[in-house]
Symmetry: C2
Subunit: 202 residues, 2 copies
Amino acid sequence: MSLKYALLGLINYQPMTGYDLKNIFDSSVNYFWTASTSQIYRDLAELERNGFVTFHIEPQKGRPDKKIYAITETGKSAFTEWLNQFPLNPIVPIRSDFLVRVFFGSHIRPEELKFQFQKFIKVKREELVLMEQALRAHKNCPSGNAEKESIEHPDHFFWHLTAKMGYLSAKAELEWAQMCLEEYENYLKTQANSSQLYPDGL
Amino acid sequence: MSLKYALLGLINYQPMTGYDLKNIFDSSVNYFWTASTSQIYRDLAELERNGFVTFHIEPQKGRPDKKIYAITETGKSAFTEWLNQFPLNPIVPIRSDFLVRVFFGSHIRPEELKFQFQKFIKVKREELVLMEQALRAHKNCPSGNAEKESIEHPDHFFWHLTAKMGYLSAKAELEWAQMCLEEYENYLKTQANSSQLYPDGL
DNA sequence: GAATTCATGTAACTTGTTACATGATTTA
DNA sequence: TAAATCATGTAACAAGTTACATGAATTC
């Protein structure tokens, strides 16, 4: 259910299109929720059917007309009601493809696994740089450009808290992967000394 | 696709039932993948249809017969093939209900939000204790009881790496929430001084 | 001239959740 | 005597992914 309410919450800041929402997801809130284009358009249609949003069409030439969605009073109350009802236990179901593979790492070719750790480190390092910039520049507002706004948004405090978690996660993952690579290289040396073969003949 | 291959990988260690697999997911690999009972049984049936596993029935009295699944040669090669083909980018799609709510925190009743931070801290602290124990006692093998096994499993090194990530994530989340609570309380004081009303009349 | 941005989606499919159903055995 | 454990699932639904479709305007 969270996606629908996240969309509602963003539209609550100001009316916008599905395209705008997709950009916000990709550029500034992706450390706590991701969404595909098809999902956004589908859920917007449902929010509209439920009377939580309305839209007006802004005609354009040479490209599809804009559908600008705005929140309704019903939508506002549904949103705050949802927000104030936290799930009973605050668990976050994790699904990490990367960790599954590491878990079964003995079946992976050592060169491949080393390469994948290196790639992971590279990607996380880049991610971390972006997050650091965002935190420093106070760019962590949904639109991604705080400098355009002359006054600080009242929700800025909360945006900052979530951005901080994104930063801390990325940092923890980076440090973990660096440790993994180091320990794995030592592990391979000890394995080579005890002249053990890799499983499955790899 | 990961769930099917995670199941295959676990069955590869030793033949087991859907019930056994569910216990492993709940007790020892849940920091990188979660699965419901219905999903496990459904995917086991599909793995069987694909010829990746076979099963034999162990009759029981007073409860449903056990269906003990074992991996086939086809299953083994499908598993190692999958393992060695990492996705192009190692991103982990995150979906945190809790963070969505914090992001829109200005619409939440302060007492409620404080309570939720406290609850989050409590849950994460408990989680962290379990993870610390697991790391210290080398219990982070799929079965959850390393002490039963006289020799260390060859995959132990990799299980330890993933368990470490689980520990680091829980630690980062705990520290974040503690910081949030502290900063939120200060924030509320400054808000009270500037005599601002909470949005939506809450 | 090629790639990216803008802007809308639909259809088919896969994956994950929730509710339901059964019922003896063991532990607290 | 109540709750947890053991052991199997099905059905309906919700949420997420992937592939496809269109096409001008703008930037490199």
